[in-house]
Symmetry: C2
Subunit: 528 residues, 2 copies
């Protein structure tokens, strides 16, 4: 019995309400956000249990928050002088230290002039990180991911000129629709469509592509106007459609055109008002007192009945140690692989292998003294794309119409490009980024300057050594299940131990897993 | 010579820079927003000229602002006790008076608990109204128009159950792509595509629809998950695709699916922070002293050399008159048709005929004491659609995660539906709207109540008598050009005299036209 037959059967027997219940049970209804995985540990259930958490990023903060609420005695060791890890918002005066360079962010002081160097978006269905925003009082606003007024630029198409998103996208829809309508008229799909469906599909694609009465695509107001409709006798003139072959010469349709339909990229996307690190600050209000900053972990030792963490105080070089019943290690695998630790052989091998999978993301940002993207291009938030190394330019979805603004002048997540870029001194990266960006905004050189910018190459940021983990299929199959188990008293957590790598939700969910696992281990010890 | 040949020719002769210049001249580059039509009158050029402006809506406020800056002696006559016209944001305690009913808005006092009863969106390319927002200090934020987490509900499809926007939209794309790929494999488009394009188009549609290696649509993460990817071993399970015939049974693809690609509806869409009437308040800070409230115009008389406006003071019934050199009349034609005026015969006939074209839009709103759309459905802003009379439910794009929220419980712009709805007393409208909305949110009855709602039927709002003008083709051809000319010293202005009816930008552009025409008339008088 197929689903449709089943539902008809249920409907006949139990009416619409029964169909609804059944569909719901079958997962046919409603959005399914990431499940609420909050551990909800019993109050005081952790009394007397010591947990050391390595890393005060989102995973570590989550673990500290949940465990300390249940009475666990938590210590968070953080190598940097700040919490947040890769959730790092920088503002004027902040210092960026890479392995071999140092920059000071040159932005002016203003609530809107910040740069989310790491995660910058919160999908609406990431209910666990959003739940913390709500519970801990982090106000949110919409971030624009997909803007019809932004540009696509391809050195190999359209003479290298920037093309409006709305033209590329809607001309593509128009041609797809026109071709399908032609095929149907040519009787190419007689076996695939009923007569009734065929008629309706013609109408469907005609609406989808904005075809004319002859099912031809002759341009659409959706693609925009050279002279838009106005007052009095200004009725407007549409753009002529882009030639189909020219469209196909470009690279947009390989990824960029469909990017914003992705499950984790589709509207509504959100951001904390005032910078992503508002989430970090909110967690710190709860568990900041548990964090020991400037403590670089050098050894992870298993004891007979617990763990011993050896660390260096970076302010004076002194070595200390802390013992605990458990450790939750949220360090990136790229960092963990370099730490002297009593992992079992398999576990160590798994860490070493996976640690090669990091994306060395690079982001630059510039303060512009004029919001030229708004004034000259009517771009309010969103992303322009280019085939150049900078890959993207992001426009701020906040501070509209203000005097100044910060734009993300590059967002690179291809390791080959990153390798080219991150070996350059930051100033040279910025010079090159302005050159690249000039293909999108011809006046770019007049609007931004290297001295107004800064760059973060995550592969070269100590204690991160990468942007996020990307599992290839084989490594995911061989190694991932191992690392999702504890190695004795040691639990790993972080975005890398999820199918949401690169997302804070992945870090939160993974921390919940570790917390729950740890609590269950205690319970089973007590029971035995 | 076609465009491509021309550009090649230019490129060979003058290089890339010449191509860019030519493309720009040909309108092939960059977004064209509505032209900046600000009249920029010469300072003091209006000294000694008296202008009466009828109506303190957006057109009237714009005219008063531009004229008074240039020294014109302006008076604005406004029948209501407030400015803004159809730009009307209501909050707790505000009174809604229709021709035969009166309601008091029951919302609690809170900056986020407001209801934009008229215009509620600002497209990014409406540069004139946005220019006033910038100049007059109206802070803006993003409004979500298209949300993949919102619902489509159709009584005639899917057993009447609400379906996720992301499923409908991405399954549609999948099927369109699959059918086109099949047609290409069936050699149905041999005459339409070169061999090279054919290969690329297959790849193109495969990406567009997220097809599998066999060019079949088997569902896509874009359409969402019954269990989304999570941490540890939760890799996620996609929805099965909706049956194509079931999709075609629905009405979504006729309009709703493509709505947000419309030129005036596509991202980025903006809204003033705190309500659309922040624009009105900003104008009032400039020209509020020129407005005489509660003055209902009863006669428009031409004099030998000017105009005489007779009006009733609504506070005491007293009749008065004001004389001026010119009048700019921004009253809706539906209102103007009922006023005793010295229009020429053709002009009067034109007004009468056009005045029948108004859309009697209806909007309801409810305060909900729980933001169930966020908590239960991960809906942050955007619009759900239904085949029921309410047509849409709008979710607020502000005040996220707050304790309470205001949702638009109906937005109707079909005059047939409006006629059914607006004859009901407001409370009955709200009862019915809750019934309709329950098809989208099964728990709706527990979340909103008629006592927490209010309704505005624009066809029954005195001094508006309609939501906006919609020109049919014949009336636009016959009558529209006449009304865009002055009738002696009388200029008409408003959204109705534009190709952007229903948009504030249309009202602004039209006011600019009237102001410019009036100034030119004076100049030509002085010259002769």
């Amino acid at each position: 019995m197929n689903r449709r037959t089943l539902l008809k059967f249920v409907g006949r027997a139990g009416g619409a309400a029964a169909v609804l219940t059944t569909m719901n049970a079958m997962g046919l209804l409603h959005t399914q956000a990431t499940a609420n995985t909050r551990p909800n540990l019993i109050s005081q259930s952790g009394d007397g249990t010591r947990v050391v958490i390595l890393g005060a990023g989102i995973a570590g903060l989550t673990a500290a928050y949940e465990l300390s609420k249940a009475g666990y005695d938590c210590t968070v060791l953080e190598a940097r002088d700040r919490a947040g890890g890769r959730n790092w918002t920088i503002r004027g005066g902040d210092v960026i230290r890479e392995t071999d360079t140092q920059q000071t962010c040159p932005f002016e002081a203003d609530p809107h002039l910040y740069f989310n160097t790491g995660p910058a978006r919160l999908p609406h269905h990431h209910t666990n990180i959003l739940g913390y925003c709500k519970e801990l009082g982090v106000p949110l606003e919409v971030i624009v991911n997909d803007n019809r007024a932004a540009y696509f630029q391809d050195d190999a198409a359209f003479g290298g000129q920037p093309m409006l998103n709305r033209r590329i996208l809607n001309d593509s829809r128009g041609y797809i629709a026109e071709l399908l309508a032609k095929a149907i008229h040519n009787h190419a799909l007689e076996n695939d469509l009923t007569v009734e469906d065929k008629e309706r599909i013609l109408e469907f694609v005609s609406r989808f592509g904005d075809l004319d009465a002859d099912y031809l695509y002759k341009g659409s107001g959706r693609a925009g106007y050279t002279t838009p409709p106005g007052a009095a006798m200004v009725s407007g003139s549409k753009y002529d459609p882009i030639d189909l072959s020219e469209l196909l010469n470009s690279d947009f349709w390989r990824f960029k055109l469909n990017f914003a339909e992705g499950f984790n990229q589709a509207a509504t996307m959100l951001q904390p008002i005032g910078g992503m690190d508002q989430i970090v600050k909110a967690f710190e209000r709860q568990v900041g007192h548990l964090i020991q900053f400037n403590t670089e972990v050098t050894q992870i030792r298993k004891l007979g009945n617990g763990v011993r963490i050896v660390y260096t105080d970076r302010s004076n070089g002194a070595e200390s140690a802390v013992e605990a019943d458990f450790v939750i290690c949220t360090l990136p695998l790229s960092v963990l692989a370099g730490i002297d630790a009593d992992f079992s052989t398999d576990y160590k091998a798994a860490i070493d292998r996976a640690s090669k999978g990091y994306i060395n993301a690079v982001k630059h940002a510039f303060q512009a003294d004029r919001r030229f993207w708004e004034e000259d291009h009517q771009i309010y938030g969103g992303i322009s794309w280019t085939t150049r190394d900078i890959t993207q330019i992001w426009y701020p979805a906040n501070g509209f119409h203000g005097a100044k603004g910060v734009i993300v002048g590059a967002y690179i997540w291809d390791n080959e490009i990153a390798a080219r870029v991150d070996t350059l001194p930051p100033e040279e990266r910025l010079v090159k980024a302005i050159e690249d960006g000039s293909t999108i905004h011809p006046n770019y050189r007049d609007e931004v300057a290297p001295a107004q910018g800064c760059s973060v190459a995550w592969g070269k940021i100590p204690y991160s050594q990468g942007g996020w983990m990307e599992w290839d299929e084989a490594t995911r199959a061989d190694v991932y299940p191992i690392l999702n188990q504890p190695d004795g008293p040691i639990y790993l957590a972080g975005e890398h131990l999820s199918y949401l790598t690169g997302w804070q939700e992945g870090a939160v969910l993974s921390a919940h897993e570790a917390v729950r696992g740890l609590a269950a281990q205690i319970q089973s010890r007590q029971a035995s």
